[in-house]
């Protein structure tokens, strides 16, 4: 029985956040606008119109390229990609063929490195609606800036492709290049999927290459994947479909298929053009770009520290639990606020701040999504609270209460609250209290003595109740153990 390997390359499109379109100054914000109200002779493809490149889009392309460890071309140009379809009024799309602006990048996810072949700039096409015997066209989206990222065909399973797309989306959002909302079509993911006989192909210049007289099976491009979570399903479905056809003696064709999520299958859309069919040629309307290294350096200096590096710092230098770090960094806006709030803290305080932020602060933001946080105030609050916690002046519960009070009312005198909430660390005072509680609660005491050490929690709880939460919990636990075991 022949064994087939799955081979996947990804083409990912995303719309950069510009105000205007790629080659004209119509608004790029087409979402839910009246049809054909954001067009001009350029994006309608009228004769004689002259497209002019959007400079901001070029900067954003360089920015995302740097974030994805790409080389930035010194010389880059635009080409016409021809195809017949009414979503493209000019009869060609302005794209980049052999001189993309970014190339040779990579993305590291855990132990794996995925290589990025290129990222190029192009324009989006019109939106079409198909009804009965006619089709309707809205050109508002026509000419909206679009970046296309192409990976090497090195994904060997659906999970890796899914992980890559997810991580990529996070990074392009984090650097502010695109909102990458797949439901709004701001990010589209198209896997190119083929199956090849195990051991009968190799890689040459990043491409799949047949060994000996082996003939490569054609690849299938899958479109209409509306959510990142469908990528894995679509790839896995295609693998079984293609292998089934081959095992039954059938032949595969190079085609574009469409993901039907309701049925969980892909459906034939059209025969796929190959590069020659597009009749690429340099676009004489758009002068080429020479990108200075000064510009690249300037853009590099505006890149934020990416969450991967931040996570490393939080976990390795500050002792934050990995799950806590992930939870903070997952939410880009929250991660930014956390970074600002904790920028003055020493590494040893960041861990406490992380726990405080993830519980109380996150909860508050979730309940009050529209409130604007006063990060300057929170900076002093977190500094005071983490200091008081580090010196055991207050306990964690008290810190949470003070933070909550300050969030609710920014005029709260939190410094005063810390002073008055100072926890009881007086051993003899606590010992008296513990003896009293032990006498009043024979059951947990008996439980503890019979080996159920978790019962100590109930005793600590009672002490906290009696001290209104002001007892030093660590000390209380120590003292209870000492008393019960003496």
């Amino acid at each position: 029985m022949k064994k087939y390997d799955l081979i996947v390359g990804l083409e990912i499109h995303f719309e950069p956040r510009t105000n205007s379109k790629m080659f004209c100054r119509c608004s790029a914000d087409f979402w839910e606008k009246e049809p054909n109200t954001q067009t001009c002779p350029v994006c309608l493809g009228m004769p004689g119109a002259l497209p002019v490149l959007n400079g901001k889009a070029v900067e954003l392309a360089i920015k995302v390229g740097l974030a994805l460890n790409c080389q930035i071309a010194e010389y880059t140009k635009f080409d016409r990609k021809h195809y017949f379809y009414p979503d493209l009024p000019k009869g060609y799309q302005i794209s980049q063929y052999d001189k993309p602006i970014c190339y040779d990048g990579h993305l590291v996810i855990g132990p794996k490195t995925f290589r990025i072949q290129r990222i190029h700039m192009e324009e989006d096409v019109a939106k079409m609606i198909h009804e009965n015997d006619y089709s309707l066209i809205d050109f508002n989206k026509s000419g909206v800036p679009l970046f296309e990222l192409v990976t090497y065909p090195e994904f060997r399973n659906g999970q890796d492709a899914y992980d890559f797309a997810r991580r990529l989306r996070h990074i392009i959002r984090e650097v502010g290049v695109s909102k990458a909302d797949m439901e709004k079509g701001q990010m589209r993911c198209e896997p190119n999927i083929s199956v090849q006989e195990h051991g009968r192909y190799g890689y040459k210049d990043g491409k799949i290459w047949p060994i000996g007289d082996y003939k490569l099976n054609p690849k299938v491009e899958v479109k209409n994947i509306a959510s990142i979570s469908f990528i894995k399903k679509a790839i896995e479905y295609e693998y079984s479909r293609q292998v089934d056809i081959l095992k039954n003696g059938g032949k595969l064709i190079q085609e574009t298929r469409s993901w039907n999520n309701e049925k969980g299958i892909t459906e034939h859309q059209r025969a796929k053009e190959s590069a020659e069919d597009y009749r690429y040629l340099p676009d004489p309307d758009i002068p080429p770009l020479r990108i200075s290294r000064e510009l690249v350096a300037k853009i590099r200096s505006t890149l934020p520290i990416l969450s991967d590096q931040r996570k490393k710092f939080y976990v390795e230098e500050c002792g934050v639990r990995e799950s806590t770090a992930n939870a903070i960094l997952e939410d880009i806006k929250f991660a930014k606020q956390f970074l600002k709030i904790t920028e003055n803290l020493k590494a040893s305080s960041v861990n406490i701040a992380a726990n405080l932020a993830l519980g109380t602060l996150k909860e508050y933001i979730n309940e009050n999504p529209n409130v604007k946080l006063d990060t300057t105030l929170l900076k002093s609050v977190f500094l005071a609270l983490t200091d008081a916690l580090n010196t055991e002046q207050i306990n964690f519960n008290t810190a949470r209460e003070i933070l909550k009070a300050t969030l609710k009312n920014p005029k709260t005198n939190f410094e005063q609250l810390i002073k008055t909430s100072t926890q009881t660390s007086n051993s003899s005072e606590l010992e008296n209290l513990i003896n009293k509680v032990i006498a009043e609660n024979p059951k947990p005491v008996a439980d503890y003595k019979s080996g159920k050490t978790a019962a100590i929690g109930a005793i600590i709880g009672k002490i906290m109740q009696k001290t209104k939460g002001k007892a030093n919990a660590r000390l209380v636990q120590e003292l209870i153990v000492k008393i019960l075991e003496s």
């Binding site: 510009t18 105000n19 205007s20 100054r25 119509c26 608004s27 009246e34 049809p35 054909n36 109200t37 954001q38 067009t39 001009c40 002779p41 309608l44 002019v52 490149l53 959007n54 400079g55 901001k56 889009a57 070029v58 010389y75 140009k77 195809y83 017949f84 379809y85 009414p86 063929y97 052999d98 001189k99 079409m128 609606i129 198909h130 009804e131 009965n132 015997d133 006619y134 089709s135 309707l136 066209i137 809205d138 050109f139 059209r270 025969a271 053009e273 069919d277 690429y280 040629l281 340099p282 004489p284 758009i286 002068p287 080429p288 770009l289 020479r290």
Partner: protein, 117 residues
């Protein structure tokens, strides 16, 4: 030509196109594929005659390869203009009415065409 200069030139343009071979001839299968990509429905009789006709046309264009371009520097653009960009500022668009003015048919603000899918 110096090494650097060569590199610079190859940096600027597409790879070369090869002249087609003397015995080249379109097959009906190739014509069928070109027709599908071009969204044309060809009749059987058209499918029979088009390979010959199109082959003649393509061979005619091959005359360009006879020109000696040994001393001509390759280029992608006729001018030496570079780095022309516009500021990312939104300017007024056409109104919907203006945009649809030349359309043969429209519906609810959309261009209306014969169904394509």
């Amino acid at each position: 030509m110096g090494k650097n200069q060569k590199k610079q030139l190859s940096n600027n343009c597409h790879g070369k196109n090869e002249p087609i071979q003397g015995d080249f001839h379109f097959t009906p299968a190739e014509i069928r594929k070109i027709a599908e990509i071009s969204m044309l429905n060809l009749t059987e009789s058209e499918l029979e005659e088009i390979p010959d006709k199109l082959t003649t046309v393509v061979k005619y264009a091959d005359v360009l390869y006879k020109i000696d371009v040994k001393d001509v520097k390759p280029t992608c653009h006729a001018t030496s203009i570079e780095n022309v960009t516009a500021e990312d500022i939104v300017e007024p668009s056409l109104t919907q009415e203006e945009a649809l003015k030349n359309a043969k048919a429209s519906k609810n603000g959309y261009f209306k065409i014969k169904r394509v899918m």
